[in-house]
Amino acid sequence: MHRFANPARFLRIAAIIQPWAMAVAALSFAAGLWFSLFASPADYQQGETVRIMYIHVPSAWMGMFCYTAMAVFSAMGLIWKHPLADLMARATAPVGAAFTFICLVTGSLWGKPMWGTWWVWDARLTSMLILFFLYLGYMALADAFDDPERGQKAAGILALVGVVNVPVIKWSVDWWNTLHQPASVVKMGGPAIDATMMVPLILMAVAFKAYWILVLIFRTRSEIAGAKLRTLRMAQVHAAGQAE
């Protein structure tokens, strides 16, 4: 029973956080949409296409953030055999994959009119594509074994090995020359983005983080119930076997 002691605490805390996460996600997303589509100026060079940035850049941040979170949860699961950490790693993977996918497609939609191409194999774009495949690999591996614990272990190791890709993505634009421009927000000497454009960017980033928390709660709840259901059914099969 001690295995579910922590999940019980998680469910209690999650019930408190859930409505707040929902409110923050909905409000900041609505405000973010308002600012990114109406109440912000066009860029002096890129015109209206700068509005793609308000989806593209926060998605890229989420892609890297979710992977880092997944690696940390996986490490906790592997080292301390914390069952909840494994469930949270599994719950984070599809969120990260979704945002990485959004980042890649919207980057393409931005690249075509501005750069003149949908895709190039430069260091930034390639390392981001590798991140997407790492997520897919993690999700496939976690479900590939009949014994969920073995699948979790294999997937956890992949998450930890793949985490080297995260700093490569971040600094790819500094280490190599790329078609992708260097960092604008997190860089030495302060951001190179006008304040009027920072507002929608930050709002969207907050909305996406709250969205992650919300989905994390639902998916972890689902995983906890699923795990309990499995042990319950196993016990029933076991009891039925003994009764015969």
């Binding site: 589509l37 066009a42 209206e48 989806i55 599809p94 969120v95 259901l229 039925a240």
Partner: protein, 77 residues
């Protein structure tokens, strides 16, 4: 009206800006709905399975799995 059509035209980049926002909203909505549904489905199944099962303190009842849910719910006096 001119303002509105100018807004939808996005300076000639409508074909790039709007798909960006539609994609983000659709992907996020699909993932959220799928997650909520799977949580509710699993929690419902778990509750149903738990109500079928005799409480741990009672001795094992071989017919537990086939009994009607209500039969196991009789409160102990």
């Amino acid at each position: 009206m001119d303002n509105l059509s100018a807004f939808f035209a996005m300076g000639g980049y409508a074909g790039y800006v709007w798909p960006t926002y539609i994609l983000a909203v659709v992907v996020m909505a699909v993932l959220l709905i799928a997650s909520v549904r799977s949580a509710h489905a699993n929690e419902r199944d778990l509750e149903a399975a738990q109500s079928l099962r005799p409480s741990r303190r009672r001795r094992n009842n071989p017919s537990a799995a086939s009994a009607e849910p209500g039969a196991e719910e009789v409160p102990q006096a």
